[in-house]
Amino acid sequence: MSVVTLHINDELVSARSDQKLLEVIREQGIDIPTLCHLEGVSDLGGCRLCLVEVQGSSKLLAACVTPVQEGMSVYTHSERLVRYRRMILELLLSERTHTCAVCVTNGHCELQYEAAELGVDHVRYEYLAPQLHLDASHDRFTLDHNRCILCQRCVRVCDEVEGAHTLDIMGRGANSRVITGLNRPWGDCVSCTSCGKCVQVCPTGALFFKGSSVGEMEKRHAFLSWILNGRERKEWQW
């Protein structure tokens, strides 16, 4: 694999030519917000939080899906980018119903964390607050559409890592919904192995273990790199 050199925020860095920008940026210790990216599954490029400016490109590019290129010059925190990231978070918070004070992941939520990091202290857009239902038909897990940000992490982990493909997205635009089975109650889906991977990778309180109360649902994704290292490199760290 060949090596390329590029500039990130005016610092010269080198990277493997098969790397994505996001990985290289993070290796430099630069903190860049992401919501749909998840180490270990394919990338979507949907949340648009990881957008960066690349000199010579008229468009902003999502770092998680953009391959590195020799000689590119990347800026990660321009005034415009930070402003857009805030707006994206405001849009996400306005889309469904995010009342953190009564949420199972309060204090452990990635959406909440990124919003706090970027200083989003109020939302300038109208709260859309659609009244969506909650699927508690599974014995162990609950899916609450009112807190879903449609990042599709659950869909990808269920398909690519667990291999069950119980989850998918139905509808389009603002009517998109995560569905289980062919839009059956989760509890009726025989394809679900109840592995819980979707719950662990969900960045918000949309997926949680039954019985969690306010602020009790903490997610862990360490298992993903553990499984993937084991599967791909036969490195099992017990």
């Binding site: 490029g45 949907g46 999502a62 635009g173």
Partner: protein, 573 residues
Amino acid sequence: MNRPELQAMGERERERQQSYRCRLLCCASTPCLSSGATAVIETLKQFIKERELDANVLVTATGCMGPCSRGPLVTVQTRGLEDVVYEHVTPELARDIALSHAAPEPKALDRNLLAADSPFFAKQKKVVLSNSGLIDPERLECYVARGGYGALAHALREMTPVEVCEAITRSGLRGRGGAGYPTGLKWDLVRKAPGTRKFVIANGDEGDPGAYMDRTLMESDPHRVLEGMAIAGYAVGAEQGYIYVRGEYPIAAKRLENAIRMAERRGLLGGRVLDSSFSFRIDIRIGAGAFVCGEETALMASVMGRRGQPSPRPPYPAQSGLWGMPTLINNVETFGNIAPIIDNGAEWYAAIGTDKSKGTKIFALAGTVATTGLIEVPMGISLREIIFDIGGGIPNGRAFKAAQTGGPSGGCIPAEHLDTPVDYDSLRRLGSIMGSGGLVVMDDTSCMPDVAKFFMEFCMDESCGKCVPCRVGTVQLHRILEHITNGSATPRDMETLQELCVMMQETSLCGLGQSAPNPLLSTLRYFREEYQAHILERSCPAGKCTMDNVPPLEQGADLQRRARSTTSDAEVS
């Protein structure tokens, strides 16, 4: 079939056509069919049989002739007479037409005539639509009689793939699907891309509201598209092509399917095309009614049987498209330009149009103009000529207000820019785009915020929901426009609109979200005072919006005011 056989076939068909004293060409494209063309054609056929005129008169169902709002249309070609076009033809009139033209002393009627020298026809230049309305789209022979498949035969025999790409590059042809990317350059990229298999796709999804250029081309001259695709396949090294046809276009799909079957049977497509070593198969894929599936990456996902959602580029389809293979994707109208370029030479084509935009463009002229329909004009013609000469101006004595081009990705052009030449770059400078060719004319009864709301609602419904700026941004923009048009907006909303629009343009994943704010931004640019009237004076200058709401913070005052007025009303009575 080989080249001499192809030529012989064309010759036979031309002789056959000339053996009739008169040919009645009846439009059987969707707009005319919906205004009663089927009855006209049936009546004519019946009538010819009854009067035993079969040997002298030929009735042909053709594609679109252009002035669709005047349909059903019938063109009559009579030996020894000029061609004439009749409009609003009824079955009764059709009988009279047949009688009068098939008589030993043929004579045109003096009713329902559409003058051939009227500006509607005179200002057009038909390149892509040169056969449309003159041939029977269901008969391969008709296409071949007008030189069809000659370009393919020429390219296969006398040109190398490199030369074909060069010719297209020299012609200056740019993609007709919206963005205007140079076609020759794209072909060359696919030709050079390494890959064991390559694919060609014709994009016939055409989701813009009101646009029907691509449908008409596919319905009226399907072989033209197939020939263009085959030439492209030869040029880039592909053996398989797909035409993606919008699900709402069953007639187009049927005619294409029939055309593919006929061409394969005659050896013009399929294995060993025209007895050369080149093979090219074409299959049809039917869309399921999503606008976003016109976007190339979403379209390819749909062709492969996946959820029709765009994915980030790079990689571009030219590098990694269908099943990871290099894929050429062009609009069907782009493919419609190929055969004429090969036939007449790149220089001939490059002489039409303007410096940076060559050739002709088909527009679906709609809205408040005297004649709506399908027109093909040279690039660089002014909007004024299109609307006032070809379209015949604004009816009912009203004034022109704006022309909308490019559909939900385009913008509104006001009266002061009517003399701008219509080409890719001029339209872009005005904040609109050429788009695929929708052109909606609006008179002074249109309210611009309301127009912007219409297009935003379209984008909101059609957003695929993959990325946040478009999925939520369109909903928020639509909400604000709703407030503006119902009287509950505040001055702050103008800033929010502007900021959100620019943000969506810069951050959305695909062209839908990136261009969804265009109609809104262009009306903000040219009709700002109309927005201000809605917000500050709570009145709609065009008289369209009801304005019966109030901004949230004024609701208290409004209630008091109303309470007071009802008490005073009560006192009076």
